[in-house]
């Protein structure tokens, strides 16, 4: 990935507000209330990049993912895919573009149609988009997709049904279905959070392999920062519909400056009992995205909040190239536990 390339997907000022007006009377009075699920998000995803959207539940990460593939229409703002504005193109063109963007959902137990064989499940997007030239071509593409997700030999799987598969295998089918149309961009929404630990890493490694092999850019929606730091290139940390901090994994996970990202990162448990981190436990829970307060959305939970934070909203500012933070008083970078492997590497460099 290099910055000189054009981004494959980018969004500007993306907003999605859901109307939650109580009823007739509320509408009569005119006080329309909105749930601001996504409120002004800008991101650029470059080819073959893995961009993570992370945050707690209700922060708008999934909604952003859906907006990026045009599954829902934004209230405001635009999504540009390969130079074309999804909101401006004709319906026909949108259909064509959609074949280039795919989604992988969280729950492989409900995202596959139980009455379709794996062959039909995977061939369905080919048929919808009229991609295969004939039956033989279709079969070849399905087999290739099954092989790419390591469900081999493919002939063992084509006529099975989802109920015959384990969770990990089902998620592989969901991935095969996404890549069969040769997409350029995939939104993966928590694809491993329903899976067991020993199977999770297999799927993560598979997603990585597919990214390199098929040159696919991903937006990876997750609440798990350790997964994000394992698989991601860049990351945006969201809170109540807004981006708090974004940048490369190194900048954000290994040197966060926003009090919220710092709290989120220090809350992640470590699998190494020898690393004792100074844990800062953030009190409270995210507020409601309805009727958000003025100023910084995180201010009510922030221990460093000052007068200005409650009055004016901080905008994203670039602290160093690529590292953006929305905070009036960024903290000193949070360095994570000492890693001997890193220290050795740095020694070798010097």
């Amino acid at each position: 990935m290099s910055k000189s390339q054009e981004p494959i997907v980018s969004c500007r000022g993306l907003k999605k507000w859901f109307s939650v007006s109580a009823g007739f009377f509320a509408q009569l009075v005119g006080g329309e209330t909105y749930l601001k699920a996504v409120d002004g998000v800008d991101i650029d995803v470059y080819p073959e990049e893995l961009y993570c959207l992370a945050g707690e539940s209700g922060c708008g990460k999934t909604t952003t993912g859906k907006l990026l593939v045009g599954l829902i229409k934004p209230t405001e703002g635009e999504v540009i895919f390969g130079g074309e504005n999804l909101d401006k193109v004709s319906r026909r063109r949108l259909r064509q573009l959609r074949a280039k963007m795919q989604t992988i959902f969280q729950d492989p137990y409900s995202s596959l149609n139980p009455r379709l064989s794996l062959y039909d499940t995977i061939a369905e997007p080919l048929r919808l988009n009229k991609i295969a030239q004939d039956g033989a071509d279709e079969e070849e593409r399905v087999v290739r997709a099954l092989e790419a997700v390591q469900l081999v030999p493919a002939s063992d799987f084509t006529f099975r049904y989802p109920h015959e598969l384990s969770g990990g295998q089902r998620q592989r089918v969901a991935i095969a279905r996404a890549i069969v149309v040769n997409p350029e961009f995939i939104v993966a929404d928590e694809p491993v959070s329903m899976l067991d630990v020993s199977i999770r890493s297999e799927i993560l490694n598979l997603l990585e392999k597919i990214r390199r092999e098929f040159h696919i850019a991903y937006v990876y929606v997750t609440h798990d920062l350790s997964v994000a730091s394992y698989i991601g290139d860049r990351i945006a940390i969201m809170y109540l519909g807004k981006i708090m901090e974004k940048g490369t994994i190194k900048q954000v996970i290994h040197g966060s400056v926003h009090p919220y990202s710092q709290a989120l990162i220090s809350a992640v448990p470590s699998p190494d009992p020898t690393i004792s981190r100074k844990r800062k436990v953030l009190p409270g829970e995210p507020g409601s995205p309805i009727n958000t307060p003025p100023g910084c959305l995180f201010a009510p939970r922030c221990e460093f909040a000052q007068e200005q934070c409650r009055r004016d909203e901080p905008l994203l500012e670039e602290l160093e190239p690529g590292h953006w933070v929305a905070c009036w008083f960024p903290r000193a970078p949070l360095r994570l536990g000492f890693d001997p492997a890193d220290a050795l590497k740095e020694k070798a460099k010097a």
Partner: protein, 334 residues
């Protein structure tokens, strides 16, 4: 307040056959300890907890084995005797706090119900007062005891569940996945609270979870289960730094760590856990084990001590079979 489980066998007897959910499980938890019972879904960890409380859902049944609580075998108690024992000696925080509270009862009523049932001398006012104290203990506003569950956030519901478990001053607490479905920041709050309860009230904690990282941060000792059997037990430090069982090694090497730089490679364990209606002969892990040999397919390895207070159930660990590629310790991933 020690718990000793000996050769526990629990089956779910169904028309399709017996689901051998827990087979020959033996472990001991000392007073004041905090122990993590970990494993993947379907490994029998929750079944062990329900068996200890004698609350196995139908058609689960303790087929054999003993559960000694302070020397008394509670697997042999009658239903009536068990009822007075449950909640006053051992209590449980259930999985899925979001749905475990009754939505149409005030939280205070739900908590005091348990108190009043177990202590007939207690008046309603006293029970309420105690609920207030418990709310303070878990870091909630005591003014909110009369609220309904829908007025609570996820983290507060989980705290209310802990209050309910503490209602009759138990000395042994089983927490079954207390933080699944909660956000990381709230998870950290709840874990901190559980740790504090162990420290301040001298409660013995058995934490059931699939998340090894949570165990690494919260517990002193670990029991790892696979397909209804214990594969390894030991102190957190021993297990995480020098796992012996190939399953434990693979499991530990497959957790991403936020501390590591991004060029780490995660191990994975190919295949999936066996069907417990018809578990494989020999070691239940052998179909997925990269070191499996003939012996593993026919003989089930017993849980043996490999170093002080560290047990593993593997023929490699006991030295019955050899493999040059295997050695105790963290798995190296290329």
């Amino acid at each position: 307040m020690s718990l000793k489980v000996e050769n526990l066998v629990v089956y779910y007897c169904m028309r399709r056959g017996d689901c051998r959910a827990v087979e020959d499980v033996t472990f001991e938890i000392e007073s004041g300890d905090s122990v993590g019972l970990v494993g993947e879904s379907g490994c029998g960890k929750s079944t062990v907890a329900f068996a200890i409380l004698r609350m196995l859902p139908e058609p689960g049944e303790i087929m054999s084995g003993h559960i000694y609580f302070d020397g008394q075998d509670i697997a042999r108690l009658s239903v009536e005797e068990m009822r007075s024992f449950r909640w006053t000696k051992i209590a449980m925080v259930f999985q899925g706090a979001m749905n475990a509270l009754n939505p149409i009862l005030r939280v205070s009523d739900q908590v005091s119900e348990a108190m009043l049932k177990h202590n007939e001398a207690l008046t309603k006012e006293e029970a309420k007062e105690k609920t207030r104290e418990l709310f303070k203990l878990v870091g909630m506003d005591p003014e909110r005891i009369d609220h309904y569950p829908f007025e609570f956030s996820g983290g507060m519901k989980q705290r209310a569940m802990i209050v309910m478990a503490l209602a009759c001053d138990p000395k042994f607490l089983i927490a079954d996945e207390p933080t699944t479905a909660l956000d990381v920041t709230v998870q950290a709050q709840i874990m901190q609270l559980l740790k504090r309860l162990v420290k301040e009230l001298g409660i013995t904690l058995m934490l059931i979870t699939h998340d090894l990282s949570v165990v690494a941060e919260t517990c002193n000792n670990v029991i790892i289960m696979y397909a209804g059997k214990i594969v390894e037990t030991g102190s957190v430090l021993e297990i995480f730094q020098k796992p012996w069982h190939p399953y434990a090694q693979g499991l530990i090497a497959s957790i991403p760590s936020i501390e590591k730089s991004s060029d780490q490679t995660l191990a994975s364990i190919p295949g999936s856990p066996p069907n417990l209606l018809d578990p494989p002969l020999g070691c239940r892990f052998h179909p997925r084990c990269i070191y499996a040999q003939d012996l593993c397919q026919v003989e089930d390895p017993p849980l043996l001590e490999v170093s002080r207070k560290h047990n593993a159930a593997c023929h490699l660990a006991s030295g019955r079979i050899k493999d040059d590629k295997w050695s105790p310790g963290k798995m190296e991933v290329e």
